[in-house]
């Protein structure tokens, strides 16, 4: 078998995804030609996915420090101190390509991967959020994807036993050939019990734990391996299949093993599997690793060292234990009926040595593997963008009837109720979920304390497409605003950057601009970025997706009972609109739904105003003044008010007079940042007014709740007057009817 490995050539290196220049670097670094297995290690670890070759220089712009930060980017997940001895651990990750090939298993294994990232830190996962983007829903292929992805998430999360408490689903034709499946996981751990992916202590044993290894998802380089034997069909990499049951056992076993004190470090075998763990773990602490591949539990026969190193079989971890305490680790994994096999040792010096039956198949300095080349490729603003931005939506005619327009917008699949999806997700297991899906941010209590966490993801590809810098900043602002509306102080961010090919200057420009926007918003709102993920190459036949940074925000409520939901509670409450008046139809849901256009300018974002509005909302919620708080996002204030009327257990009507803009459609459906609708009991109106004055923000009373209609006036003119029943049916059926 060992002798059967092909000789490495430049062509083979190219087939493995390396460039000629990168291959030269490898030759120089090793001072010789790599073996086939070594080439596999380089091709995997120097891949964009593992090495962030194109993005690293930009990512360094993000703020990552702060008084709460216990762990910033670079580990399996980030961690923030939330007081009372607890830390919140969270991260978001994409599984876009696998979900396109096989939606059910692709999405399921996406959930599995991010759960492992969180529990390798020693945290128990308490919440999942899913952020999904698909092509147009009238295409049957899209419906097939939506169905597969949602049931895959449902299956994995439910079976594992972590509630899926929030997310978004949006539709745009640009995602037709490349849907997005981003999953965020949030966990809790005692702040002094964080684990890290470090291979400390030469001499310490290295354990392989979890499911057996098969030929799942081995990198494209495997194609080359088919040339050296006659079993091409058999050797073909296979789709990864999730096993949530084993993952659940792995969670319990890992947390139990960690509690013994015998665990030194641990990492999830995700992308590039064993290759990644055996090089990254020692590289973080200047050690090396010596592993015997024949000891790796295998599900299939005749696997080559290359395949064992690069397999992406799911539900596996690499664990470094304290020497002499091996039996404690074995005992725990045996209890949970999982494999835990000692496959090697941590070594001094910095080499990764992989052997098969004692014979060395790879010997590479771990630093060479983890220090991939970094690129600063050219960036260029897309030439057509200026033209698109110059378009003025107000050159289009006003809709003949604004009520009909509102019905169409609340019934568009992107805005309509997503209950069809989230009722398939267990959102309560763990009995922490105080605010279920269906409000702005989900809220989860932290048992044993008075605290709660608010969590939300957001990201509007249309906005980012038209203005990557501001659009991305607005995604940060919106996710944070949702958290603030629930009563949470936004304390940290995780970001998932979904873009096309970075080798195209226009795409890299979008990316670079988006990073600047995220960085600026995070600074202004005082939130460090503690982890994230970059997913490039989201394109099919040269058609890139809308640039889509998905921003996950975690917020902290000091008092779980001081929280708010987005729906009106009763008749007779006064309704206020907080925030600036500036709105735009550029890139809006209105412009897309009614005119199928993606063009125009975004309303300006004033980060200082954003900060103040959010703090005013939080103060109102904390003082118990806000009986509802809902942010205005897609569809503008008209949609926000409609949602506040409809989303509670019993619909509550509303009558409001809106500040006039250039035209009624702009007033109703114009989108702009930093705007929030709040309802207040009349008896507490004065108190609320005082608080708003103190907050020094722009705001006004706009109306009253009550009745069975939504009536909206601009000036003296009634522009919308709809029965709630009619609105509700449009909103409830807008997405679901496609899926029936």
């Amino acid at each position: 078998m060992k002798g059967a490995e092909p000789k490495v050539t430049l062509d083979l290196a190219r087939d493995s995804g390396l460039t000629a220049d990168e291959y030269d670097r490898i030759l120089a670094r090793l001072g010789r030609e790599p073996t086939f297995s070594e080439l596999g290690l380089f091709s995997a670890l120097w891949s964009e996915h593992c090495a962030y070759k194109h993005s690293r220089v930009f990512l360094s712009r993000l703020p990552t420090a702060g008084p709460r930060v216990l762990q910033g980017p670079g580990e399996n997940a980030g961690a923030l101190d939330i007081g009372d001895g607890w830390a919140v651990v969270f991260k978001i990750e994409s599984h876009n390509h696998p979900s396109f090939i096989e939606p059910f298993q692709g999405a399921a294994t996406g959930v599995g991967g991010i759960l492992r990232d969180v529990f390798t830190m020693g945290a128990r996962p308490i919440a999942i959020l899913d952020s999904l983007r698909f092509g147009a829903l009238d295409d049957p292929r899209t419906r097939h994807l939506v169905n597969g992805v949602v049931s895959g998430i449902s299956w994995y999360g439910n079976c594992f036993g972590c509630p899926t408490v929030g997310g978004e689903i949006a539709f745009a034709p640009e995602y037709a050939g490349n849907p997005l499946v981003n999953v965020m996981c949030v966990g809790l751990v005692r702040a002094d019990r964080l684990f890290r992916a470090r291979a400390e202590g030469p001499g310490n044993p290295v354990f392989y734990v979890g499911n057996k290894t098969g030929r799942d998802g081995i990198h494209g380089a495997t194609m080359a391996s088919a040339t050296f034997d006659g079993h091409a069909e058999e050797r073909r990499p296979t789709v990864q299949v999730g096993d949530p049951f084993t993952e659940k056992l792995l969670l319990e076993a890992c947390l139990e093993a960690m509690a013994t004190g015998a665990v030194v470090g641990i990492q999830d075998m995700g992308a590039a599997g064993l290759a990644c763990c055996t090089s990254e773990m020692p590289a973080r602490c200047g050690t090396g690793m010596d592993v015997e591949l024949s000891r790796v539990p295998q599900r299939e026969t005749g696997m080559t060292p290359y395949e064992i190193l690069l397999s992406e079989s799911q539900e596996r971890m690499l664990l470094v234990a304290a020497r002499g305490r091996e039996d404690e680790v074995r005992r725990v994994f045996a209890k949970w009926e999982l494999d835990a096999v000692e496959i090697g040792r941590v070594t001094p010096g910095g080499d990764l040595v992989a052997r098969l039956d004692g014979e060395v198949v790879a010997r590479v300095p771990v630093e060479a593997l983890t220090e991939a080349p970094k690129y600063t490729k050219p960036v260029a603003e897309p030439s057509e963008l200026a033209g698109r931005r110059a378009f003025d939506p107000l050159t289009l005619p006003e809709p003949p009837d604004h009520g009909t327009a509102l019905l169409r917008i609340v019934g568009s699949p992107t805005i309509a109720s997503k209950e069809w999806a989230f009722r398939q997700y267990d959102h309560q297991v763990g009995i922490n979920t105080l605010v279920l899906p269906g409000s702005d941010a989900a809220v989860l209590r932290v048992k044993g304390t008075r605290k709660a966490l608010a969590v939300k993801t957001d990201g509007n590809g249309r906005h980012v497409f038209l203005d990557p810098r501001q659009g991305a900043a607005m995604a940060v602002a919106e996710a944070a605003r949702n958290v603030s509306c629930s009563g949470g102080l936004p304390i940290g961010v995780t970001d998932c950057m979904n873009f096309g090919s970075p080798e195209r200057p226009e795409i890299l420009w979008q990316f670079a601009e988006a990073i600047e926007g995220i960085a600026a918003a995070c600074r202004a709102l005082d939130m460090p970025v503690v982890g994230g993920n970059v997913s490039f190459y989201n394109e099919t036949n040269g058609q890139a997706i809308l640039p889509t940074p998905v921003i996950g925000v975690v917020g902290l409520l000091e008092d779980a009972s001081r929280r708010a939901t987005q729906w009106f509670k009763a008749a007779g409450h006064r309704v206020a609109l907080l925030g600036p008046d500036a709105v735009s139809l550029g890139g809006s849901e209105y412009l897309w739904t009614l005119h199928r256009r993606l063009a125009g300018r975004l309303a300006p974002l004033d980060l200082e105003a954003e900060r103040r509005v959010q703090s005013a909302v939080r103060a109102a919620v904390a003082a118990g003044l806000a009986t509802a708080a809902h942010d205005c996002s897609e569809g503008g204030v008209a949609v926000a008010l409609a949602e506040a009327c409809l989303t509670g257990r019993a619909p509550v009507g509303c009558e409001a007079a809106l500040p006039a803009a250039a035209r009624p459609d702009l007033t109703l459906f114009g989108e702009g940042p930093s705007r929030v609708v709040v309802s207040v009991e009349p008896a507490r109106g004065r108190e609320f007014e005082a608080l708003m004055a103190e907050s020094a923000i722009q705001w006004r009373w706009i109306g009253l709740t009550g009745g069975e209609r939504l009536v909206l006036r601009v000036g003296a003119r009634v522009v919308v007057d709809l029965a709630l029943e009619q609105l509700e049916s449009a909103w409830r059926n807008g997405f679901e009817r496609h899926m029936a």
Binding site: C159, Q424, I431
Partner: protein
């Protein structure tokens, strides 16, 4: 009363039941590992929700043949009380400790939502403090909760008053619309003829605190503990 909460590989409501029993009800409670056969120190055994063994063959099938479930037969014969919720109900049916079986939801999808249950039988320790016709709000979360029994079994269930809960509207009417999974005659929970083994698909532990949206699930426990008054509201001890 001493409670035991059974843990199978893949169980996930174990911690939730444990929390409610110890932190809300302040009763002694311990976890019982699935290999355990010794249940003598317990008065009530709980089989919680989850996906025991992944439910990869049929929900509850593998767990239904485990040592602890075998031991339950003896435990019940000696007067012990058993509550199976969600996966626990599926396990009790698979083990033959309760009649019938649970099939895939008729909609072929998983469902996590709130439901209302109307109390049909007050001849179990879990419902003896309630009124027949009383309506309880309790969430469900399952993919295989459609109760099935053949005609003869169903007749037997009715004859012995073993149907304990049905899915209903908020006002107690048993309607097709209130049936979330296609269960036979809206059946949500059944008991053994003695009433000492109760299985139900809904999650009482998720409706045990006002902060979590309702506390009707606690009524089952207060009934069991004998701390209920006539009208079905419970006394503060």
């Amino acid at each position: 009363m001493r409670f035991g909460v059974v843990v199978f590989p893949g169980t996930w409501s174990d911690c939730d039941f444990h929390y409610v029993i110890s932190e809300v009800l302040h009763q002694p409670v311990k976890y019982v590992w699935h290999r355990e056969r010794q249940l003598d120190d317990l008065d009530c055994v709980i089989l919680p929700g989850g996906f025991s063994y992944g439910d990869y063959l049929r929900a509850g099938a593998v767990a239904g043949r485990s040592p602890v479930v075998e031991a339950l037969r003896d435990f019940v014969a000696k007067g012990g009380v058993v509550l199976g919720s969600c996966n626990g109900f599926q396990i009790l049916c698979e083990a033959g400790l309760l009649p019938g079986a649970l099939m895939r939801n008729e909609c072929l999808q998983y469902r996590c939502q709130s439901t209302h249950l109307v109390v049909e039988s007050v001849e179990t320790p879990f419902t003896r403090g309630l009124r027949p016709g009383q309506v309880l709000a309790m969430p469900i979360s399952h993919g295989e909760g459609k109760y099935h029994a053949d005609a003869e079994t169903l007749a037997g269930l009715k004859a012995r008053n073993q149907i304990v809960f049905r899915y209903a509207e908020a006002d107690g009417r048993v309607t097709k619309a209130a049936n979330p999974n296609g269960s036979l005659e809206n059946i949500a929970g059944v008991a053994n003829p003695e009433g000492t083994v109760l299985g139900l698909m809904p999650h009482p532990e998720r409706a045990a605190e006002a902060a979590m949206g309702g506390a009707d699930g606690l009524l089952l426990f207060h009934s069991l503990l004998g701390s209920l008054v006539e009208d079905g509201s419970f006394l503060k001890r």
